[in-house]
Subunit: 354 residues, 2 copies
């Protein structure tokens, strides 16, 4: 080992889902939206191309246009909105900003697998209460001293959502630390904790443009909370990189929020396809957890998940498999278009009956 390598920060990086790029593949592995974003986003890019002189200038470091339209959309003020390069950027800044206690931060053993990566990176102590045998979060596990709480709702990869009363119970028992509710998948049938912001100044709600707003490629995430939380996050953000949102993400982001009809129709279609797919999968011997997300978490009655995962890959259909305790007999299947899901069902039929 070279001398300077002794001072490298030791990390166990997060492994993103593979990004295969084959013609005719069916990509159901990273929970992207199967539909393109609003056509207005394309218009916005064309307009930006027209005024390319704008590219030479630093973008607005306050991302004012985007925070303003998000504030308007959710009935909040601009001082309650933080934006970042995807919700991963937003959550990373939140961990660094809020979790500086000696007490452990709490999040479930089975949840978004980036939480422990940030905790390790920033040397934040943490504990992971186990989900119950039905993969539900036990709220009582979060009724104790802690340095912060992170709940994904709906949870990933389980797809299960809890109600407002459940989240409020956790908030009621935690008046001393910041509680983050990660709502990456909330738009597919779950209920947002946003109305609780009025009552709980230590609540931070995080959402993203990567799923329901069909813009994973533009990297936009946001947090909503009390101005004192948002101010603290911005102070940390301005201490890392003043200008994170580039000119094109700002204009596309605004368009996606403004075209609410398109957004709602997208979410509705995905939920319809989800219900259809769930029924077909049941007919083939799969049990799916009750999903409020744009994916299903499915286990077959007799064939191991890993074998199905590999058989699907051979048919150029990509889903996500986690070789982790408790969930290694499940597949996480993103809801695609109706045609993609029909192709998936056909392929599974062959695998199951073959």
């Amino acid at each position: 080992m070279r001398e300077w390598e002794k001072n490298f920060r030791q990390v166990e990086p997060y492994t993103p889902g593979e990004q295969p790029d084959f013609p005719d593949m069916i990509k159901l592995n990273t929970n992207e939206c199967p539909y393109p974003p609003t056509p207005r986003a394309a218009e916005a890019l064309r307009e930006l191309a027209q005024e390319r002189d704008r590219l030479r200038l630093y973008p607005d470091f306050r991302a004012g246009a985007l925070t303003e339209c998000l504030a308007h959309y959710y009935g909040l003020t601009q001082e309650q909105i933080f934006v970042g390069v995807g919700s991963d950027d937003v959550l990373s800044v939140a961990f660094l900003t809020f979790f500086n206690s000696e007490k452990p931060v709490l999040f479930p053993d089975i949840t978004y697998s980036f939480y422990d990566v940030w905790a390790e990176l920033y040397r934040i102590p943490y504990e992971r209460p186990a989900l119950d045998e039905n993969f539900r979060i036990r709220r009582e596990d979060y009724y104790r001293e802690n340095g912060g709480i992170v709940i994904a709702n709906p949870n990933a990869p389980t797809s299960i959502a809890e109600g407002t009363e459940f989240i409020e119970d956790i908030l009621k028992h935690n008046r001393q630390s910041v509680v983050i509710v990660d709502e990456a998948y909330v738009d597919f049938g779950a209920v947002s904790a946003l109305p609780l912001l009025e009552k709980y100044e230590n609540l931070l709600v995080v959402q993203t443009f990567s799923k329901s707003r069909a813009m994973a490629g533009m990297r936009i995430g946001y947090a909503m909370g009390h101005p004192s939380l948002i101010r603290a996050m911005n102070d940390v953000k301005y201490s890392i990189n003043s200008y994170t949102m580039n000119a094109s993400s700002l204009v596309c982001g605004v368009c996606a929020v403004e075209d609410d009809a398109y957004f709602k129709e997208c979410c509705a279609r995905i939920m319809r396809t989800r219900a259809w797919a769930r029924d077909r999968l049941a007919e083939l011997g799969f049990a799916c957890l009750e999903s409020s997300a744009n994916f299903l978490f499915a286990s077959h009655e007799s064939i191991p998940a890993k074998r199905i995962f590999e058989a699907l890959r051979e048919k150029n259909i990509f889903v996500r498999y986690f070789a982790k305790p408790r969930i290694d007999n499940y597949l996480r299947i993103t809801i695609g278009t109706d045609e993609q899901m029909q192709a998936l069902v056909n392929a599974l039929e062959e695998i199951v009956k073959g």
Copy 2:
């Protein structure tokens, strides 16, 4: 103070240059390029608009197209290139990755004012040897035990560049820590440390698309170094945010590198304008440090810098003034177009003679 606020990370954020936006203003305060980026960047945005379905997908987390074209351009391998959301993102990741020693990281007292912000944020000990009375870095100050070294070359806001032999001397005396050379302004007449990469595995060279490549609005920076340094930075990056470069920054970045003739012509024009402006400023009683950057660091023989700064603002001309010890009688003036610099000279003439 609310209970949870006690655990907020305490920071003193970096203050970016103001981003005024008045019609007819002359903006010479944040070292942007006065010319638009290559027309090919606009074409790339139009093509992306045409294929808006790509926006729904996560971008390539390896940023392969961009690292490949940078590697080709600089005669390196892809494993030697790291890309980020502006060079601030790149430097922030480098600080977090490499500077985990108990020994202090060293950088000059007068230099890019983000270095101490990152050091504070990440709790990295640091010391700042003073520039000499001519605002030059004293290389001997860096011949001692340390946890890392950061040299901006050309330095900012002084605009002064040192030669390869100077940088190599620092490297020769530092075989135990990572030495970062921040070359944000190198394309305006300085000499890059890149050829030293073959000999020094602990050297990291950082550059940006925000100045010479006229794309501050697209947020692209990059680092070049030994594959073991780049791998370590990527491990940390993937532990913060897997997908940082959005679809549009990737395509625009590639275009900017490919259109080398445009890039070289841009730099040459800025250097010609710089020489002209320096002569005019001298005629008005200003002394400028010898600049190898796209800005001048200028002090007037009799009128305080702050007064000139304010008088220029009243005329809608924005330059940068730092109310800091040693440099509080200097103005940092970005090189604009010939017309902008003529307007600046006219305004200064009125101020100086009025």
